[in-house]
């Protein structure tokens, strides 16, 4: 272990008493691709944020080249040679490739102190050539594909002389060919002695590209080893640590009649010929990669977007849904993916948030009725176990998990017959996650038909009665609970069903 470039020892990080990391050890050697594995909420991102100086550890030490160091800010970490390529690339879309690469460390002309664009352009060209990237330094970033943006981020890391490059789910939005290209670049960097921290929860990728792995679960260090000496089954066991049945308490719900029928729904350039049936009490899982068009289909059904063609039937009758109000009148509810942007109104209190969609039920003519609002909030707030100092507390003062619960309560209070949930457990802690899963099962048991969009395979497998897989705007496969397994679903999601 003499060529350890970075070593983290006994890292702990508490947020207001919640243990995000609890004594994690993590070592990375030069010239290796090190996979950091764990479920969402396992603590991978927190660990990376400590390494990049975004967070300060509550306890523990970081050793860089055998010397203990501290990263009080991202700049210090960057200077020490650590660069992160972000999931949703943090770029400036209206600036050029060159400006993005040199943002924060512009090259100045030594004699007059002005920016030296020529030198930066030349250096950018060298970096682009090295990454075999066929774009010009002055192309605007907004005109690049997702894969090209990733490469620009990598170029930026190289321009900073990074010795450790962190890639957080770099393949989540890439096509297969782009993934191959990324692998090629990763191998090239490795051969130059860079250390690469590769974060992914896709095991196929880990086995393809990584040399070494470390597993985290619930903020704890579980184990590490070389990829060559381990099997997929063993890693899965380390990652999950318990059986799927415990994580996903699927109650047996009786499935009733078809309540929602979608036929050949299309929106030009977004999705095409989407058809499916949804029964009472059914949980229908929708799986796919980012950009597969799942959310867009649901937003169209809910009347937020307009369709190009196709039909929607509710209780066997053809319906026209022009806006969300119509959709709600037909008994639909849509729990959006981004609770901060699409879900909660942060400047309002819990009561006002929960009663907003049912404002015509809670008010008398044009006047609001606070007592009724309070009753309804109390009923659903307690049911969903929102933790707050009172129903008049502002939503912006709540924790992320509780904000999500407010949004959930808001939609349950509309008493929907069809509930569409878009990534309902994205980015929330494991405890809240289990509550939400329990809750989804209970709702289904009550006869509510549920569409569950999720990018987490275990969640889809654990919760759904039936699974629909989408790829680039079309449905590529449909499975029953019995017929589904992770391999088949992944294949359909990356569009290689025919192979």
């Amino acid at each position: 272990m003499n060529n350890c470039i970075i070593e983290m020892k006994g890292i702990k990080k508490y947020f207001y008493g919640v243990k995000a990391l609890d004594g994690v050890d993590f070592k990375v050697r030069t010239g290796e691709v090190h996979a950091l594995i764990g479920e969402n909420g396992a603590g991978k991102s927190t660990l990376v944020k400590i390494l990049t100086g975004v967070y300060q550890p509550t306890a523990g030490t970081i050793i860089l080249n055998d010397k203990p160091v501290q990263f009080p800010s991202p700049q210090v970490s960057q200077k020490a040679g650590i660069s992160a390529i972000h999931q949703e690339a943090t770029m400036f879309p209206d600036l050029s490739v060159m400006e993005n690469i040199f943002m924060g460390h512009h090259i100045r002309n030594k004699s007059n102190g002005l920016l030296s664009w020529r030198e930066m352009k030349d250096k950018t060209q060298i970096l682009l050539d090295k990454l075999e990237l066929d774009i010009r330094p002055d192309t605007k970033v907004k005109n690049l594909s997702v894969a090209q943006r990733h490469m620009v981020e990598i170029a930026k890391a190289l321009s900073l002389n990074a010795k450790v490059v962190i890639m957080d789910e770099p393949t989540s939005a890439l096509t297969l060919r782009e993934v191959e290209y990324l692998y090629k670049i990763i191998r090239k960097l490795k051969s130059e002695g860079k250390a690469i921290i590769f974060i992914s929860h896709k095991f196929e990728e880990v086995f393809e590209i990584a040399d070494y792995f470390t597993v985290l679960r619930d903020g704890k260090y579980i184990g590490e080893g070389t990829i060559a000496d381990i099997t997929v089954d063993k890693i899965v066991q380390m990652v999950i640590g318990r059986s799927l049945a415990q994580m996903y308490p699927k109650l047996e719900a009786e499935q009733g009649n078809i309540i929602l029928k979608v036929e050949n729904l299309s929106k030009i350039g977004v999705f095409k010929n989407i058809s499916f049936d949804l029964h009472k009490g059914e949980i229908l899982g929708f799986f796919g990669l980012v950009g597969a068009g799942r959310s867009e289909v649901m937003q169209t059904i809910f009347g937020i977007d307009t369709k190009t063609s196709g039909e929607v039937f509710i209780d066997g009758e053809k319906v026209y849904i022009a806006n969300p109000s119509d959709a709600m009148n037909f008994g639909l509810a849509y729990l959006p993916e981004d609770r901060q942007i699409q879900g909660a109104i942060l400047a309002m209190n819990i009561r006002e948030n929960i009663t907003l969609p049912i404002i015509d039920r809670t008010s008398r003519h044009i006047f609001l009725d606070r007592n009724r609002e309070f009753e309804i909030t109390d009923e659903y707030g307690k049911y969903i176990e929102i933790k707050a100092s009172g129903w008049e507390q502002l939503v912006e003062d709540l924790s992320g998990g509780n904000q999500q619960k407010v949004v959930l309560a808001k939609w349950i209070a509309t008493k929907p017959r069809i509930l569409i949930m878009d990534e309902p457990t994205k980015g929330i802690d494991i405890a809240t996650k289990a509550t939400v899963h329990n809750f989804i099962s209970e709702l289904a048991k009550k006869g509510i038909a549920i569409i569950l969009i999720s990018s987490e395979l275990p969640e889809i497998l654990g919760m759904s009665n039936n699974v629909i897989v989408m790829h680039e705007g079309v449905i590529t496969a449909k499975f029953t609970r019995e017929g589904a397994n992770s391999k088949k679903i992944i294949r359909a999601a990356i569009g290689s069903i025919s192979k």
Partner: protein, 326 residues
């Protein structure tokens, strides 16, 4: 009670008391009741129009045209009064409001239907409405002797020692307190400002809300137009130039979030009153008129800084409380 101390309105109230105390220490006549009635009279119009501005800012918009709309509706009714002195005063008031509603609804249509950002829309209509004032009056004034007696004295008519101007502004305050806090549309206005996308998801009609706030602001501004020209007994092409900035300042001082979503009527009324007091106090303590404007600006910025600092402190208290709860 604890909540009261956390409110921005309360901070502002304390700040106003400080100024009153400080000024009256130097100039005891500042404390005379007559002086306060004067200040109320001076800020009545500002409070009313600032309430209209508040509703627009809460939805995330802004109205730069209120000064011009005020002048246009004021000039229109002044000319009407000059050439048709027989029209009864309540008709004049209704016509003034109607003109304001029309001007506001044009803004509303441009913003909600043509989807032109509010700042651009009202920057345009600010010039258009002001230009129409010039066209209407041909560059001349309507002065006191050309107005009827009833027209001129209306804002000054008093009952129990309080002018109709103040009664009207109190009426506007109460009406809009009810509208914003107790009706569905009021709640939806705050919803749209707090989060446009989330509001759309729960079925709120964004276009309708935008149209409503601009039109209502126009209506208030129309009423203010009549009151303004009657009170100053003059309608001229420069009437209320720069007034839109005062209404925005009153909102910001009153704690209205410029990005939308939050702000209260009480805060805005206090904000307008604060501006009136500062103006009055500077005159009372004989600050040179050359300095007055600059000092006003300083005090406004100072008030806002205090407000923000207090806000931050409260937020930190809140965070600490939260971490304790969890």
């Amino acid at each position: 009670m604890k909540d009261l101390f956390r409110k921005r309105e309360f901070n502002l109230f304390i700040f106003i008391l400080f100024i009153i105390f400080g000024v009256s220490w130097r100039t005891p006549s500042f404390l005379y009741i007559n002086n306060f009635v004067d200040i109320l009279n001076d800020t009545a119009i500002l409070s009313m129009v600032a309430i209209g501005q508040l509703m627009i800012i809460v939805t995330g918009g802004i109205d730069l045209s209120v000064g011009s709309s005020l002048a246009l509706s004021g000039m229109s009714v002044a000319l009407l009064n000059q050439y048709h002195p027989g029209i009864p005063i309540f008709m004049i008031i209704l016509i003034s409001i109607a003109i304001g509603l029309l001007l506001g609804s044009i803004n509303g249509l441009l913003v909600s239907r043509a989807k032109i950002p509010p700042i651009i829309t009202t920057l345009g209509t600010m010039s258009i409405y002001r230009g129409l004032v010039f066209v209407l009056c041909g560059g001349t004034w309507v002065s006191a002797h050309e107005m009827t007696e009833a027209f001129r004295v209306f804002p000054r008519r008093s009952f129990l020692g309080i002018s109709s101007l103040i009664y009207l502004s109190i009426l506007i305050v109460i009406l809009f307190l009810i509208f914003l806090n107790l009706t569905r549309t009021g709640r939806e206005i705050y919803g749209v400002g707090g989060n446009k996308i989330a509001s759309q998801y729960v079925g709120i009609n964004l276009k309708k809300i935008q149209y409503i706030v601009f039109t209502l602001c126009g209506g208030i501004t129309g009423l203010a137009g009549f009151l303004w020209v009657a009170r100053y007994a003059a309608a001229q092409s420069e009437t209320a130039i720069g007034f839109e900035l005062q209404t925005i300042a009153a909102c910001v001082i009153g704690g209205v979030s410029i990005t939308g979503g939050s702000g209260t009527i009480i805060g805005v009324v206090l904000g307008a009153f604060f501006m009136g007091i500062v103006y009055n106090a500077l005159t009372m303590i004989n600050v040179s008129p050359f300095w007055q404007m600059a000092i006003q600006g300083f005090i406004i910025i100072f008030a806002i800084i205090i407000n923000t600092v207090m806000d931050k402190r409260n937020q930190q208290l809140m965070l600490r409380k939260r971490s304790f709860n969890e």
